[in-house]
Amino acid sequence: MKRYDLIVIGAGPSGLSAAAEAASKGLRTVVFDENERPGGQLFKQIHKFFGSKEHKAKVRGYNIGKQLLQEAADAGVDVVLNAPVEGLYPDHEVTVRIGDSLRHFKGDAVIAATGASENMAAFKGWTLPGVIGAGAAQTMMNLHGIKPGNKVVMLGSGNVGLVVSYQLLQAGVEVAAVVDALPHVGGYGVHAAKLARTGVPFYLSHTIVEAEGEDRVKGVTIAEIDNKFNFIPGTEKHFDADTICVAVGLSPMSQLLKMAECDVPDDPSKGGQAPRVGAFGETSVKGVFAAGDVSGIEEASSAMIEGRITGLAAAESLGFITKQELEAETAGLENQLASLRRGMFAPGNKGRKITETDEGIALSESLLTQGYVADDEIARFPGVTKQRGIHPVIECTQNIPCNPCQDACRKGCIRIGKDITSLPAVDTDSQCVGCGLCVAACSGQAVFLVDEDYEEGYASVTLPYEFLPLPETGARGTALDRSGAPVCEAEVVEIRTSPAFDHTNLLTMKVPADMAMTARFFRNQKTESEAC
C-alpha cells in the first residue's frame, strides 16, 4: 500500500493551500480530487474576490485556482484528479477510485478539505426538469459553456444566489427575479446592487409556491410569506421562466469524516454537520484534520488561510517543524483570518439583524429589502462625496473585509484605514485623475467615477461593465438608476479596456447633469438581452 506523509482530500482552495504549505515543509504530499479540474469551486467563480492583497483580493476565482495549483506543483505536491476518495478508514487509510480500479493509500496525516454541498428547498414542482441548484448553473455556464436556460428565477439572495445571478446575466441569460424567504438580502449589498441596477427585481419575504409546467419548468409562482413562513393569500406573482435556480445555502460535506468516526456535531452556525476541531484544525481522531468549508461554511479566502494553518499543523504533528515554528508561522495567518472574520457578515453575526455600520451610519433599508441603495440614502456614506470635476463615488455601504480600492488609487483619494472592514471614504482634498483603476479594482463593482462638470448641462458617469457585446463609443441607449429603472437617455463617450482591468471594462456615459448621482447602468438601445 502506498504511503504518504500527508493525504489531502479535495483540491479546492483549502486543500491546495494545505498541500502546498505542508509540502514546502518537506512532507510527501498527495491531493486527491474527484473532479476533472482542480480548484474546487474556484474554477466556476469568475468574479473578483474580496479581501486584501494577501487574500488575493480583486483576483478572479479561477485565476486564484490556477495560482494555487502552480504553487502546489512547485512545492512538489502530487495532485491526482478524477480520483474520488471512496472511504476514510482506521489507520488513516483511504480508498480512491483511480481509473477503473480501487486503490488503497495511507497517510501519516490526512486533511479533509472536501468543501460543501448545496442545500435544497422543496416546493411544489421542484422535481421538474428546469429546477436546478445554483451550483449546477455555474457548472454548466462557466465550466461547460452552456447556458442553463434562457430565463431564470433565482431562489436565494445569499452571496451564492447573487453571484450566480450576475453570472447568468454575463452568460446572456435573463434573470426574472431574485426571491428570498428572508426579509432581508442575505449576501453582500454590493452583489445585490450590481444585479438590481441591471433591472433584476428582488422579492424578499417571498418564496416559491409552485414550479409550473407538465414535464419541464414553464413558469414560477411566488408569494409573500408571513413570519411563520405561511403564504399570504393574494400576494401571488407569476413569472414566465424555463429555469429555477435554488441557492439556499451550503452544508459542510463531512461524510468522510463521519465515516472515519470523527466527532461531527450538528452546528447551525457552521451550516450543518461540521467536525469538532482544535485550534489548528485537528479533528477528534488523531492525525485527521479538516480545513475549509467542511469545517464550517465560510468564504474561499478564509478557506485558503485555514488550509495553510492546517498544512502547517500536519507538518508539526509529524515532526517536520517544531511547535514554536508552527506557532510563529500561524500567528500571522490567524491575524489574517481574524481580519476576514470581522465586519457585519462575520460568522458571529450570522442571523443577527444589523441596523448600522461600525461607523455608526444607518444601513440602507432599501438595500436590504430591494437590493439597491435608495437615492435619498446614498449621500450619507463616506465614499459618496460631492466635488467639482471627476471623482470617485464609492457606493460601498456595509462593513465587509475588502480594501483593493484603497490600494488601487495612487493619488490617495480613497481611504479605508487599518481596519479592512471599514467603509471606504473619499478624500476631497486629493486630486482624482480619472484613471479608473478603482472602478476596475472593486470586486463589488461599487465604484463609479462621476464628473458633474463634464459638459454644459451634462455629467459623465463611468461604470464597470462586464457584459457582451461591449457598446462602442458613440452608442446611444438608456441610463438606468440603481433600481434598474430607465431614467434618461445616455450616450457612451468612452470605453476603456485594459489587461490591468482584468475584463472589467470601464464604460463612460454622458447623461443630463441632474442624473449624475442617479444613473448607474447603461442599456444599449437595440438589444434587449445583450449577450446573444
Binding site: G87, Y89, P90, T95, L102, H104, M259, E261
Partner: protein, 375 residues
C-alpha cells in the same frame, strides 16, 4: 417513563420487537429497552434478508419451517406493512466437486428433517436462474425458501407492538440485572431501574454481559459481517442465493437493488471497535465473489456498504430459553447470523413461552444450559 411492567424485554431488534408484538397481542403489558438510539439497530437491520430453511442446522430447522409455513406468508397483512416477503426459493451454488460435496451433505441432512430440498445439476440451475455464469456446476434448490426486507420487518413489528401499547425506550442500555427474593426483577439503566415480573434478554452479543450479571453465561463471540447494496437494477431474479464457498449471499430486493453479504476471511480476527463501518477491503472481496457467479452485474454500482456484529454461538444455533436457576429470566440470543429468517417464529414462540409456558415449536434444542465441554 413507565418503570414497571409485566414483561421487560431488553433489546429492540427483531427478536425483541416480534416478541413484544406477540405478547401485547395476548394482552401482556410489555416494555422494551433498546440500548442504542435506534430500533432494530443491530443485526436486524444489517443482515442479508434471507428467509431460509435450507442450509440450517437440523436443530433449528423445525423452527424455520414452522415460521415459513405459518407466519411469513401472512406477515405483511398481519402487521399492516409490506415486509417484502418473496417465496421464490433458495439456490445454494457450487462451482467445484468439493462444493458439490458440501451441498450434498447439507441437502441430505435437511431432507432427513422433512425439508423439500434437492441437489440440481448445471442445466437445471440455469433454468432457474439464467444469469449465472458457466462456472456454476451444481446447486441445492429449496423452492419454499425466500427473502424479505429486514428493516421493514423489524420496524413493522415495532410499529404494531407500539400501536398495541407496548412501551419502547431507546438509548437505555441495561448495565445489570438484579434479583429480588430469588427472582429476577430489576434492570439497572442510566435512566433508573425498570422492574418486571419477567425479563427477556434479547440483546444480541450484549446479552452475554447482561445475563452475566446474574451468573449466567452463554458461550458466544462477536464476528464482523459486511454487506453491500447496489443501485436499483432491472429485474433479474427472485431467488435467495448462497454459495457452498460462503463467498457471497443475497438477493434482489423489491426496490430493485441487490443486497449482498460476503466474507473476506478476517472476520474472526476483528475486535469490536464499537463501529458498524465496513472494512476497506470487505466490499471488494464480496464484489469479486459475486462477479464470478454473475458477470453481468459487473457494471452495477455499489451505493453503500455497512457492517454488523454477529453473536456467534459456540455450537452455531441460538439460545431461546427459560432460565430455571434464575426464575423470571428468559434468554433469546446467540442467533449466530441467521436470526432474521426465524425472527418472527422465535418471537411467536418466546411470547408463548413467557406468557403460557408452552410453545408450539419445541424449544428444547435451544436451552441455555446445553453447552458441555467436548473433552
Amino acid at each position: 417513563m413507565k418503570q414497571k411492567s409485566e414483561v421487560l424485554i431488553i433489546g429492540g431488534g427483531i427478536i425483541g420487537c416480534a416478541t413484544a408484538y406477540y405478547l401485547t397481542k395476548k394482552g401482556v403489558d410489555v416494555t422494551v429497552l433498546e440500548g442504542s438510539d435506534f430500533i432494530g439497530n443491530g443485526g436486524s437491520s444489517r443482515n442479508g434478508g434471507g428467509v431460509r430453511q435450507s442450509g440450517r442446522d437440523p436443530r433449528e430447522l423445525p423452527m424455520a419451517m414452522w415460521g415459513i409455513r405459518n407466519l411469513w406468508p401472512g406477515l405483511s397483512e398481519e402487521l399492516g406493512a409490506d415486509v417484502e416477503y418473496v417465496q421464490e426459493g433458495n439456490l445454494r451454488l457450487g462451482k467445484t466437486e468439493k462444493h458439490k460435496e458440501i451441498l450434498t451433505g447439507l441437502t441430505d441432512a435437511a431432507v432427513s428433517c422433512g425439508l423439500e430440498v434437492k441437489m440440481i445439476d448445471e442445466d437445471t440451475v440455469k433454468e432457474i436462474n439464467p444469469h449465472l455464469s458457466d462456472e456454476v456446476t451444481s446447486a441445492s434448490w429449496c423452492p419454499t425458501d425466500g427473502h424479505a426486507n429486514p428493516m421493514a420487518a423489524t420496524l413493522a413489528f415495532y410499529r404494531k407492538a407500539r400501536e398495541l401499547g407496548a412501551q419502547f425506550y431507546t438509548g437505555v442500555p441495561v448495565s445489570e440485572l438484579r434479583t429480588v427474593r430469588g427472582r429476577v426483577r430489576e434492570a439497572v439503566t442510566p435512566d433508573g431501574i425498570f422492574e418486571a415480573d419477567k425479563i427477556l434478554v434479547a440483546a444480541g452479543y450484549g446479552s452475554r454481559a447482561i445475563a452475566g450479571t446474574v451468573g449466567i453465561d452463554v458461550p458466544m463471540t462477536e464476528r464482523k459481517a459486511e454487506c453491500i447494496v447496489t443501485e436499483a437494477q432491472p429485474r433479474m431474479f427472485e431467488q435467495m442465493l448462497g454459495t457452498a464457498d460462503a463467498d457471497f449471499y443475497g438477493h434482489q430486493t423489491a426496490h430493485g437493488s441487490f443486497v449482498f453479504g460476503g466474507m473476506s476471511g478476517f472476520e474472526a480476527f476483528m475486535e469490536n471497535d464499537g463501529t458498524t463501518t465496513s472494512t476497506s477491503y470487505g466490499a471488494s472481496c464480496t464484489c469479486r465473489g459475486i462477479m464470478k457467479y454473475f458477470p453481468e452485474l459487473a457494471s452495477a454500482k455499489i451505493v453503500r456498504t455497512w457492517a454488523g456484529w454477529i453473536d456467534a454461538c459456540a455450537d452455531g444455533v441460538p439460545v431461546m430459553s427459560r432460565v430455571e436457576e434464575v426464575p423470571g429470566l428468559y434468554l433469546a440470543c446467540a442467533f449466530s447470523g441467521h436470526g432474521f429468517g426465524i425472527g418472527p417464529a422465535a418471537g411467536y414462540n418466546l411470547a408463548e413461552l413467557i406468557a403460557d409456558g408452552e410453545t408450539t415449536v419445541d424449544l428444547t434444542p435451544f436451552r441455555y444450559d446445553r453447552f458441555k465441554p467436548v473433552i
